[in-house]
């Protein structure tokens, strides 16, 4: 990229964190924020389609969805909800520490977030394992232990569990991606990289993503676990 440097007539190469296409840090940070929110819009549309499918099917098969959902462990779901809510708090704290340039504070808060995310995934693993054990995974052999269906029609219950595994699975994938991104951010902070230490925006961006992941769960939990009797 030598050509770029030689082309530049004006002298901004002082700021290590500033990329060549931007004029100043303000423009760069604004672009990052707008870009992140635009990306989150696409994520909303992505999950939105799934929530639409869920809403339609639940309104079509209310009773069967209600009966099928009873097999889910509300206690585990609730613990997971609080774990994620707490991790949202720690991420918000890490952004605050980034603004204060407190490196150890950021690392500690992101570390706790990672532990929360890990806890969430472990609990989710045990939940999935239990459903698999009860033959509640859609496909051949679904419902071969009929007692766990609570009297729901095996066909409609299969739709419910198809959505359950599809939606929580995609959410879990987002949690995993979040863990990778937070890990990357922590490595940058650990190495005192100017990319993150000069400005709090990169930390804020990761925070925004993590809040979104939490928010999806905040919708998933009541929709999947907390149904009223129709």
């Amino acid at each position: 990229m030598a050509a770029i440097a030689s082309d530049h007539g004006h002298g901004h190469g002082h700021d290590e964190a500033l990329h060549h296409q931007f004029e100043d840090m303000e423009q760069q940070n604004d672009s990052y924020i707008v870009g992140m929110w635009t990306f989150l819009v696409t994520e909303v549309m992505f999950f939105g389609a799934l929530f639409l499918i869920y809403t339609l099917y639940r309104s079509m098969y209310q009773l069967d969805f209600y009966l099928a959902h009873k097999v889910l462990d509300t206690r585990m779901g609730m613990i997971n909800t609080f774990v994620l809510l707490f991790s949202s708090f720690t991420v918000a704290m890490s952004v605050r520490f980034a603004q204060l340039q407190n490196r150890m504070g950021v690392l500690a808060m992101l570390g706790i977030t990672q532990i929360c995310a890990g806890t969430f995934m472990v609990i989710k693993y045990f939940e999935y394992q239990e459903k698999f054990g009860h033959h509640l995974y859609p496909g051949p052999g679904f419902g071969s232990s009929p007692s766990y269906l609570n009297g729901a029609s095996p066909n409609f219950a299969q739709l419910y569990f198809g959505l359950y595994f599809g939606m929580t699975g995609l959410h879990g994938l987002h949690v995993l991606i979040g863990m990778i991104v937070i890990g990357y951010l922590m490595a940058k902070w650990w190495r005192n990289s100017p990319m993150v230490t000069k400005d709090y925006i990169p930390t804020e961006l990761v925070g925004l993503y993590w809040h979104f992941v939490d928010l999806v769960w905040i919708f998933l939990f009541p929709l999947m676990y907390l149904m009223p009797k129709p």
């Binding site: 050509a3 696409t42 994520e43 389609a49 339609l56 079509m60 066909n155 299969q158 739709l159």
Partner: protein, 578 residues
């Protein structure tokens, strides 16, 4: 457009000396191309790969046309025919049309037009090309490995239960290519919002930028929905997660709703950037301010918005209720309003313009006619009564080819010729290009106009024979003949444009005398686009009739009479011989 640099020591941007290094010759290594963050190089990468996919899709189209020359068909079996038309649709839609104008011309032009050094996220831009290539490789892999026979629409349960072909692999490819589209869309939106040069207000933006911005909005709102919908089919095929399984109580029509929620706006992803190109071409070659700038700009946004409310008109015969149909039909008619605004405004721009019939302008004029036919026949299909008769016939095939080929491809070719000197620094041969533009128009109409007639008579789409109605044969033969002409007219630009890379005359910074920031930097531009970031003082289409007239007179005065110049040439050549 008047633009002065921020630095008062430099008098004018257009006066900056032509630098020896530009984005093309700055570094010749392959690595510098494959790891580039430069939006111009990424545009070129897209141009090369998308042209390749267009070539493959055209071969499939040729096979379809060849098969249909005989009422009983004679080279393809039914199953192969299904795979060939699916391949044609999938390649042309996902690997050519959605990518062509936004990712090639849009990538190249957007930062240049708004006076920025690059896209807001150059690495994301490069990632989008790699995602496109991986997606393309998956799709091609699936096709080579047996193909898909579900059509490009992947309706369940054709694609979930009854397809034993490579649906999963091709869908994975489309899913990945979708993310390439999303990253491009995010880049367009952020770049337009945050990277404009000082003084480049929203209403000084070239209309191409408005169109690309509207395209970006459609991409980010629509693509994730189709991505997750196709993902549901992958889930169903691979992980047995039933989402649309009718046998379990799922709703296959829901798939169609979600699919068209994206795929109808997707036609605006294809045509909106074409509108943008069109506005630039018409303004420049009529040497006139675009008539109704604000209306054209807002009509792009209106199309982007309304486009999300009309998907139901693809499903009038798929168990839609009457009231649903009425509402979707009504909103579909509403889309005609912003589209008509554009067509009328372009026509009004031509009125009393100083029209220069150069190659891009011939494409642009062709576009107006072809798009109007394509748009008006769309009204037949948006109308509840006639749609029942016409849907799933060749009428619909002709309709969307008039919009997609007659519209998007014509505008793409026009734009490619217009900005070719800027992209490559070379001029293409004007006379052959002009004749070729006419050939595209003739070949296109010969191919697709007979399809309107034969479709109206009842020829169903996606059939590989019509022995039940041999009277359709003359129309099919006409269409196949036209497609041969059309193929020729696509090969010729490929040849002369490639040749111009080495043999073409060097282009000046502004060979058309066009207005716009992209013409104020050298051809080809330096890697950082502008030596000094320009300051914009005026709107982009400030063609002033008086100056135009004076420039014309000055050019005529400078022009050496042809007999004199010939004499001078012969004298020179004789000198060389001696």
């Amino acid at each position: 457009m008047s633009a002065i640099p921020a630095d008062p020591n430099v008098t004018a941007v257009s006066a900056t000396p032509r630098t020896e290094t530009n984005y093309l010759n700055a570094d010749w290594s392959i690595k510098s191309w494959l790891l580039t963050g430069d939006h111009k190089r990424i545009g070129i990468l897209y141009l090369v790969t998308v042209s390749f996919f267009f070539f493959l899709g055209s071969i499939a189209a040729g096979l379809i046309r060849y098969e249909l020359t005989a009422p009983a068909g004679f080279i393809l079996e039914s199953e192969t025919y299904n795979k060939v038309f699916s391949a044609h649709g999938i390649i042309m839609v996902f690997l050519f049309l959605i990518v062509a104008i936004p990712a090639i011309l849009g990538n190249f032009l957007l930062p240049l037009m708004i006076g920025a050094r690059d896209m807001a996220f150059p690495r994301l831009n490069l990632l989008s090309w790699y995602l496109f290539m991986i997606g393309g490789a998956c799709i091609m892999g699936g096709m080579i490995n047996g193909g898909v026979d579900s059509g490009w629409t992947f309706y369940v349960p054709y694609s979930s239960m009854y397809a034993n072909s490579n649906v999963t692999m091709v869908l994975t490819g489309i899913f990945i290519a979708g993310f390439s589209s999303i990253t491009t869309g995010i880049n367009f939106i952020v770049t337009t919002h945050k990277m404009r040069a000082p003084g480049m207000t929203w209403f000084r933006l070239p209309l191409m930028v408005w169109a690309l911005y509207a395209t970006g909005v459609v991409i980010i709102l629509g693509t994730p929905v189709v991505a997750v919908t196709l993902l549901c089919i992958i889930f169903e095929r691979v992980f047995h997660l039933p989402i649309f399984s009718a046998e379990l109580g799922g709703d296959p029509v829901l798939f169609q709703h979600l699919f068209w929620f994206y795929s109808h706006p997707a036609v605006y992803i294809m045509i909106l950037p074409a509108f943008g190109v069109q506005s630039e071409l018409i303004a420049n070659f009529a040497r006139k301010r675009v008539f109704g700038y604000h209306l054209i700009a807002f009509s792009s946004l209106a199309i982007a918005g309304l486009g999300f409310l009309v998907w139901g008109h693809h499903m009038f015969i798929s168990s839609e209720s009457m009231y649903q149909g009425v509402v979707f039909s009504l909103i579909s008619f509403l889309v005609a309003i912003p589209s008509a605004i554009k067509v009328f405004n372009w026509t009004a721009t031509l009125y009393k313009g100083n029209i220069r019939l150069q190659t891009p302008m011939i494409y642009a004029l062709g576009f107006i006619g072809l798009f109007t036919i394509g748009g008006l026949t769309g009204l037949f299909l948006g109308c509840l009564g006639t749609d029942v008769h016409l849907t799933n016939t060749y009428f619909i095939v002709a309709h969307f080819h008039y919009v997609m080929v007659g519209g998007a491809v014509t505008a793409f070719l026009g734009g490619l010729h217009y900005w070719w000197p800027k992209m490559t620094g070379r001029l293409y041969p004007e006379s052959i290009a002009k004749w070729n533009a006419v050939l595209v128009f003739i070949g296109f109409n010969l191919t697709f106009f007979p399809q309107f007639i034969v479709g109206f008579m009842g020829m169903p789409r996606r059939y590989h024979y019509y022995y039940f109605a041999p009277e359709f044969q003359p129309y099919h033969i006409m269409s196949t003949l036209g497609s041969t002409v059309l193929a020729l007219s696509f090969i010729i630009p490929g040849l002369y444009l490639t040749r111009s890379l080495t043999k073409g005359a060097k282009a000046s910074a502004n060979p058309w005398g066009a207005h716009g920031l992209e013409w104020e930097t050298s051809s080809p531009p330096p890697t950082s686009n502008f030596l000094q970031i320009p300051v914009v003082l005026d709107e982009v289409y400030d063609f002033d009739p008086v100056t135009e007239h004076e420039q014309d007179k000055a050019a005529q005065a400078l022009e050496v009479p042809s007999y004199l110049s010939n004499e001078a040439k012969s004298i020179e050549s004789e000198k060389e011989k001696r």
